[in-house]
């Protein structure tokens, strides 16, 4: 199996362009560094580094694989960080992770209510994240509250995960004159074949797409950070955006939307640690969010 030290060696060699310099920064022998990288290359059955007298550089395969290797080393790092946190840490500030429409359309109102009750010395950290990232952060206490929009089938046992709003089915959006959008009713997923697609980098959506449309039937694909960016690209004529929620939520002008046939339903969910949030600002914010969701549901 891949080991974080192999990734560290690879990164160091790529950064320093030399095995000898990498070994010096890592306080290892040159042969150890070279051994780690060769073992990694053997395990993956790919050449990752071009070795030449003028310096070591990544091969094309190495460059494509490096982000995955980094994510792996980071996740190893996050295990040790969160176990340290669990051994002796406590959360201090109010940290909230959410999806894009949550940041721009739901949280501002709730935070304005929160500000009335907590005027000074509170630092609220807001960031955008996907469902799995939110669950992980809430579970280890590095985030107090999560608000997410996901497919109904996704669940996470490590956190409390409560539906507060309906989000509608997964759909496709694009310019109104796109051949698939000139009709009414759902689009059959097989019709997406060979159309340019824009997909948010959310595991739920990527997996739903994998089930609905084989990789071999795809042409130009753009993988972007969130639904809002996907809809903006669709509005510029890049292709069809496959997203939740539908564009009416985000108010993107100039795009039409149709649901995908057989696509899963989605929900907006509030994510807290088991037993609910503990700090007073987090408790208050969770209440405001639920109240906002109730009034929105009430309007239909």
């Amino acid at each position: 199996m891949t080991a974080p030290v192999q990734v560290q060696c690879l990164e160091a060699v790529v950064r320093m362009k030399s095995f000898r310099a990498a070994a010096a920064t890592l306080h290892m022998s040159q042969s150890a560094v070279s051994g780690h990288i060769s073992r990694l290359e053997r395990q993956l059955n790919l050449q990752l580094v071009d070795r030449s007298f003028s310096g070591a550089t990544l091969t094309r395969a190495g460059a494509s694989l490096l982000p995955h290797l980094r994510a792996f080393a980071e996740s190893a790092e996050s295990i040790s960080k969160s176990s340290e946190f669990l051994r002796d840490g406590e959360a201090h500030r109010l940290s909230v992770l959410t999806f894009r429409a949550g940041l721009t359309h739901i949280l501002p109102k709730a935070l304005a209510m929160l500000r009335e009750s907590f005027d000074s010395n509170l630092v609220v950290q807001l960031a955008q994240a996907h469902y799995e990232e939110i669950c992980t952060a809430v579970a280890d206490g590095s985030c107090d509250l999560g608000l997410t929009i996901t497919l109904e089938s996704e669940t996470c046992a490590e956190v409390d995960d409560r539906e507060i709003m309906r989000g509608g089915p997964l759909g496709a959006s694009g310019l109104p004159d796109h051949p698939l959008l000139r009709r009414d009713g759902p689009i059959d997923p097989s019709e997406l074949a060979h159309h340019a697609l824009i997909v948010p980098r959310s595991r739920g959506v990527l997996e739903a797409l994998d089930r609905m449309l084989p990789v071999g039937d795809r042409s130009f694909v753009c993988i972007v950070s969130d639904a809002d960016i996907a809809l903006n690209l669709a509005a510029a004529g890049v292709g069809l955006a496959v997203t939740i929620p539908d564009p009416r939520w985000l108010g993107t002008a100039g795009v039409s939307w149709r649901p995908l046939r057989g696509a899963p339903e989605t929900t907006v969910r509030l994510i807290t640690a088991h037993g609910g949030p503990t700090s007073a600002p987090a408790v208050a914010l969770a209440e405001y969010l639920e109240a906002l969701a109730r009034s929105r549901n009430g309007r239909g």
Binding site: L69, Q125, S225
Partner: protein, 322 residues
């Protein structure tokens, strides 16, 4: 370090609630399963399982840690999937990093053009900060980046940096009628100490603001990762946002902006690797962006006092120049 087999053993014991059942599912002996779980616990210095004759279950700490352990296993699976597709030869990939405005205002047309020339291409578009673009450009895992940075930041080794568009200096943005925004003169950072502030966490702006107004000197504050979210919070009445001048937003007339004294000038810069050669798709995107640059600089007049003034719109709209 944590090993895959240890996580698998833990997962199986949790699922079946028993070491014996887990051992039989995994085709291992019971002591082997129990040894793997114990080594994992020792490695992390935490008790993950509550063992009892009626069944084993996760402790509170175990429940908190298990998503990280799963992510670790998942990330290793991702390496194997990606190397598999590399061995079999998948479609061409292009990785681009950009600030949010660039994603919405600059890149959409560029991608529409790319699509015409590259039938099967997978473009990965990351928001500035989600990946380390500079590190990625040096090692080839990122191809092109649009970044908002102070003009005096150096490109650094291995990176080509082209100036695209001046954005002026950091300033304070808030609702019309806010007492601090009655004048357009530069404001000193320490005047903001008692205000509710919305600040950006993007590296360069956070660094500059940190120098002008340290965190400890701030009141209620919200830290967000892009201007659009900051604007949504300003409109909700949450406070003043510290950000660059944005004619698009100020054109609505309900907001005012005032420069901060002591802030350097920021611009959009185009970053690419000076070492690794761009793929054909990367070259096409780069030359599109260079042509955008020559169009846009003639579209904007840069006024050192008022910031960027839009003289012509990128897209037809009835917004007025601020």
């Amino acid at each position: 370090m944590v090993a895959l087999i240890q996580v698998q053993c833990l997962e199986e014991v949790v699922r079946t609630r028993s070491f014996r059942a887990a051992a039989s599912v995994l085709h291992m002996s019971q002591p082997a399963v129990s040894g793997h779980v114990a080594r994992l616990e020792r490695e992390l210095g935490l008790q993950l399982l509550q063992r009892s004759p009626t069944g084993s279950e996760l402790t509170v700490q175990g429940r908190r840690l298990i998503p990280h352990l799963r992510a670790f296993v998942e990330s290793e699976a991702a390496i194997l999937r990606a190397s598999e597709s590399l061995r079999t030869g998948g479609p061409q990939q292009l990785t681009v990093s950009s600030h949010r405005r660039g994603m919405v205002r600059i890149l959409p047309d560029a991608f529409a053009v790319l699509r015409e020339s590259f039938g099967s291409l997978v473009v990965h578009l990351h928001q500035d900060g989600a990946i380390d673009a500079r590190e990625g450009l040096r090692d080839g895992s990122c191809d092109i980046a649009l970044a908002i940075e102070p003009d005096d930041d150096e490109a650094g080794r291995g990176i080509d940096k082209t100036h695209m568009l001046s954005l002026g200096q950091l300033g304070v943005c808030g609702p019309v009628g806010h007492p601090l925004l009655n004048t357009g003169d530069p404001i000193a950072a320490d005047e903001l100490g008692a205000e509710s502030l919305i600040t950006l966490t993007t590296n360069s702006t956070a660094r500059v603001l940190g120098g002008l107004l340290p965190r400890g000197a701030r009141n209620f504050s919200c830290e967000v990762d892009d201007t659009e979210v900051a604007m949504a919070l300003v409109r909700a009445g949450l406070g003043l946002a510290v950000m660059l001048f944005h004619p698009y937003e100020l054109a609505t007339g309900s907001l005012r902006w005032r420069p901060m004294s002591g802030s350097p000038s920021f611009s959009i810069h185009l970053l690419s690797s000076s070492v690794t050669a761009l793929s054909p798709a990367g070259q096409a995107l780069h030359s599109y962006l260079m042509s955008w640059r020559s169009t846009v600089t003639s579209m904007y007049a840069i006024d050192p006092v008022r910031g960027v003034t839009r003289t012509r719109l990128a897209q037809p709209s009835n917004e007025q120049t601020a």
